[in-house]
């Protein structure tokens, strides 16, 4: 019994940042903009949170700094892909490289330092849960949610009604960045209260894959994040307990990402992806 509850607690811990980042990516993808820069935005958010917490001792400021830093990075992606219509996948990849590189460079002096303050875990878990419900609600029952979803499906239809497609998409990308920043703050303040290079460790990629795996649904994202959390816990527990090589176990979540994307290929054919995902919008183009 004890074993199961501790397993679940661990799973929730690991699943929370994935869920936060996944919800953010769901918002921007529902508006038709993919952002592969989640990993980079998490890294920048984590560093901003850690540095602010250590210098001010204020966890609120730290979380705020994480959101601001990740949103600023998302803004780069938004400018490149929306008004300038750069390829979203290339821009997203560049964002990941930029974010992780920047966090590694600026975080050099913090390397190995523990966090000076204690930040409780439950507010983050509660927030992730609340945001899940809020997003599910906004998507289904409000006009802003309808506009967001329609922009990802058929931007021309939104444009014809006099609603600005670039504005909707810009806001969605910034929201995606803010959520990634929260995930980063959770990592450096709660999950591993210290600074180390590559603190995100591929978590952003899990989140990106999860978006597709859960078919762009916030509620299913919560279940999927918990599932990845359990997997992660198992991998941790099985280390040493079996003769199964540790490295292979550690690779398990990422293997699952590949499986998830394979499944997603079939899903996409079934028509779950936002129809205009990844396509820049230009009025009157054919």
């Amino acid at each position: 019994m004890n074993e199961i509850s501790s397993a679940l607690l661990q799973a929730v811990s690991f699943g929370t940042p994935i869920l936060l980042a996944c919800l953010g990516a769901t918002v921007n993808e529902r508006a038709g903009v993919s952002n592969l820069g989640v990993e980079g935005m998490i890294a920048v958010g984590a560093l901003a949170a850690f540095a602010t917490a250590n210098s001010t001792g204020n966890p609120w400021l730290a979380v705020g700094a994480a959101i601001a830093a990740a949103t600023a990075l998302a803004c780069v992606h938004a400018v490149a892909t929306i008004p300038m219509r750069a390829n979203q996948f290339v821009s997203g990849l560049a964002l990941t490289l930029l974010g992780t590189g920047l966090a590694g460079l600026l975080g050099k002096s913090y390397e190995g330092f523990p966090l000076a303050i204690h930040v409780p875990e439950w507010p983050f878990v509660a927030l992730a849960g609340l945001l899940t419900l809020l997003l599910a609600f906004v998507f289904s029952f409000t006009r802003p949610g309808l506009i967001l979803r329609s922009t990802g499906e058929n931007p021309a239809a939104v444009d014809a009604l006099g609603i600005s497609v670039p504005l909707v998409r810009f806001v969605a990308v910034l929201i995606g960045g803010a959520f990634s920043g929260l995930a980063g703050a959770f990592l450096s303040l709660v999950y591993r209260p210290s600074w180390m290079d590559n603190i995100s460790g591929g978590l952003g990629w899990l989140a990106v894959a999860l978006v597709i795996f859960v078919a762009w649904s916030p509620l299913r994202a919560a279940a999927g994040a918990l599932f990845f959390g359990v997997l992660y816990y198992l991998q941790f527990r099985l280390q040493g307990a079996t003769r199964f090589p540790t490295e292979l176990l550690a690779a398990l979540p990422y293997l699952l990402v590949l499986v998830a994307l394979g499944v997603a290929g079939a899903r996409q054919a079934a028509g779950h992806a936002p129809a205009a995902l990844g396509r820049p919008y230009l009025r009157g183009e054919r």
Binding site: F141, R143, R149, A160, L161, I163, A275
Partner: protein, 513 residues
């Protein structure tokens, strides 16, 4: 009614009652004056037909009315007050509604979700907008189920959703951009009924169409544009099809059935028990049998989605056969599209932009797509670009393709010119079988005439033409025999000179025994 008739007089002194007046609208683009001093009035409770060939400036005028373009000169008056329509949002607020030619709807969302997008409240927009949809549906006879996902709707139903959207937005002036081009004859009648209801309700409708029969039936008044200028405006009582066509084209046009069915030639194409699956795995062709003789034009009518697309794809070699036999001139017709082209099969596809051409490639390259590997376009494995461009210039001249030069990417050409490009490539000297799908869809009178002449010219030289079309008037005036496709099977053939539009329409919907 009498009021409409008196208002319908051009230059009627009572212009103050106009909901919309355009005064000397001029819009220039580099190299062209798309609208040149266009003035017109639209009154409440009338249907105004806006006519003109492609490139006459109709689209530009609509874009100006919908706030997408700003006129360089002239002014727009709404209810006699100058109006500044600087964005679609502003045009919508001022009571303009546009029903676009191709519906701008989110396919995966329901009808109510699509309508709530523009008109709903922030909170529970779908629940709030549904009663308003039902009320408008009842008032104007716009039948549509608010809970149905849009991708399950027919083209006619999607159009009703677009009309509802304009009405929900408070539109007083509805612009219908070639609304009948995607409809079956029965659906067109339904649309006209709705338009009459709207007119009776005091709305102003601007009806854009190439089809003069429809204009004569539904409009109260017409305004004809040619090369950006208003060249005439006739009350419908004083107009005839011939007079309107002459105004549009600038010369007289004949509407008689000119096709004289030739004596049947030898058997060319024989199709027996043909079966094939569609894109979703269902059996799209269920035992299709027909013969096509040399020099014959065989029309295929039917509501979209009854297997016409699959039939042509199978014959062109783009879709695998799951049963039955096809022979061309007594030899089994097999192989990929290139092998079939070598046997004389030409394909004029439905999607002329993406299937018919590579939009980003030049006119010259698109013209060489079929024969780029042969002399004179290629020698010893190397392409001869001079020969290719030389050929392209000849074809552009011969088919009167309007393009700046042969290096222009084909996507920049108008629909009619893209179609001429495809004809120039496909209709070679050796052509024996022509598969043409909606070859004149969206083309103006001039380009349509040219396409008809080219196809009939090939038939005159002994080629067989399989013409898939939705415009029954076109099929009846062009074809020797017409078959109807319904649920993957053929009905008929019917002799085109004997049957009627109405009889075919009934067959298309399965309404006849």
């Amino acid at each position: 009614m009498t009021r409409i008739e008196t208002l319908a007089q051009p230059g009627h002194p009572d212009v103050t009652s106009a909901v919309l007046s355009l005064r000397g609208i001029t819009k220039r683009f580099p190299g062209v004056t798309a609208n040149d001093q266009v003035s017109l009035e639209v009154y409440p409770g009338e249907v105004l037909g806006l006519l003109g060939e492609n490139g006459a400036g109709k689209s530009t005028l609509i874009s100006i009315l919908y706030g997408l373009y700003q006129p360089d000169e002239g002014e727009i008056l709404l209810d006699g007050q100058p109006a500044n329509l600087s964005s679609p949002a502003q045009a919508l607020r001022r009571g303009m509604g546009l029903v676009p030619q191709h519906p701008l709807l989110v396919e995966r969302h329901t009808v109510a979700e699509n309508l709530a997008l523009g008109a709903g409240s922030a909170w529970q927009p779908v629940r709030q907008v549904t009663p308003r949809i039902l009320e408008l549906s009842r008032t104007y006879g716009l039948e549509v189920n608010p809970a149905a996902p849009v991708h399950t709707l027919s083209p006619g139903e999607k159009q009703r959703v677009e009309i509802l959207r304009a009405l929900l937005g408070g539109a007083r002036i509805l612009i219908l951009d070639e609304p009948t081009s995607v409809l079956t004859p029965q659906e067109v009648e339904g649309l006209f009924q709705i338009m009459r209801e709207l007119r009776a309700g005091g709305k102003s409708l601007i009806f854009i169409s190439h089809k003069l029969d429809e204009v004569m039936e539904i409009c109260d008044r017409t305004v004809v544009l040619r090369r950006g200028k208003v060249v005439g405006g006739l009350p419908i009582a004083e107009a005839s099809k011939a007079s309107l066509a002459e105004l549009m084209v600038g010369r007289s046009v004949s509407f008689e059935r000119r096709r004289v069915t030739p004596p049947p030639g030898p058997l060319l194409l024989s199709v027996r028990g043909l079966e094939a699956r569609g894109g979703r795995g269902h059996l799209a062709l269920r035992g299709v049998n027909f013969d096509l003789h040399e020099g014959e034009v065989l029309g295929v009518a039917g509501v979209t989605g009854n297997g016409q697309t699959e039939l042509v794809e199978v014959l062109a070699g783009l879709r695998p056969v799951s049963g039955g036999a096809v022979s061309l001139g007594g030899v089994p017709l097999t192989g990929d599209p290139a092998q079939r082209f070598a046997q004389g099969v030409a394909h004029i596809p439905e999607d002329r932009l993406h299937t018919g051409t590579v939009p980003t490639m030049s006119v010259s390259e698109n013209l060489a797509l079929r024969e780029y590997g042969q002399l004179p376009f290629s020698r010893g494995g190397l392409r001869n670009l001079q020969a290719q461009d030389e050929f392209a210039r000849r074809m552009v001249e011969r088919y009167a393709v309007s393009t700046p030069n042969v290096q222009t990417p084909s996507r920049l050409l108008s629909g009619g010119n893209i179609q001429k490009l495809i004809l120039a490539r496909e209709l070679t000297e050796q052509v024996r079988l022509i598969l043409a799908v909606h070859p004149t869809y969206g083309l103006d009178i001039g380009a349509t005439e040219q396409v008809h002449q080219e196809l009939l010219g090939c038939a005159g030289r002994g080629a067989g033409v399989l013409l898939v079309g939705e415009d029954l008037d076109e099929l009846l005036s062009l074809c020797d025999r017409v078959v109807v496709m319904l649920h993957g099977q053929l009905l008929g053939p019917f002799d085109a000179a004997q049957t009627s539009r109405k009889a075919l329409g009934l067959q298309m919907t399965g309404g006849a025994a």
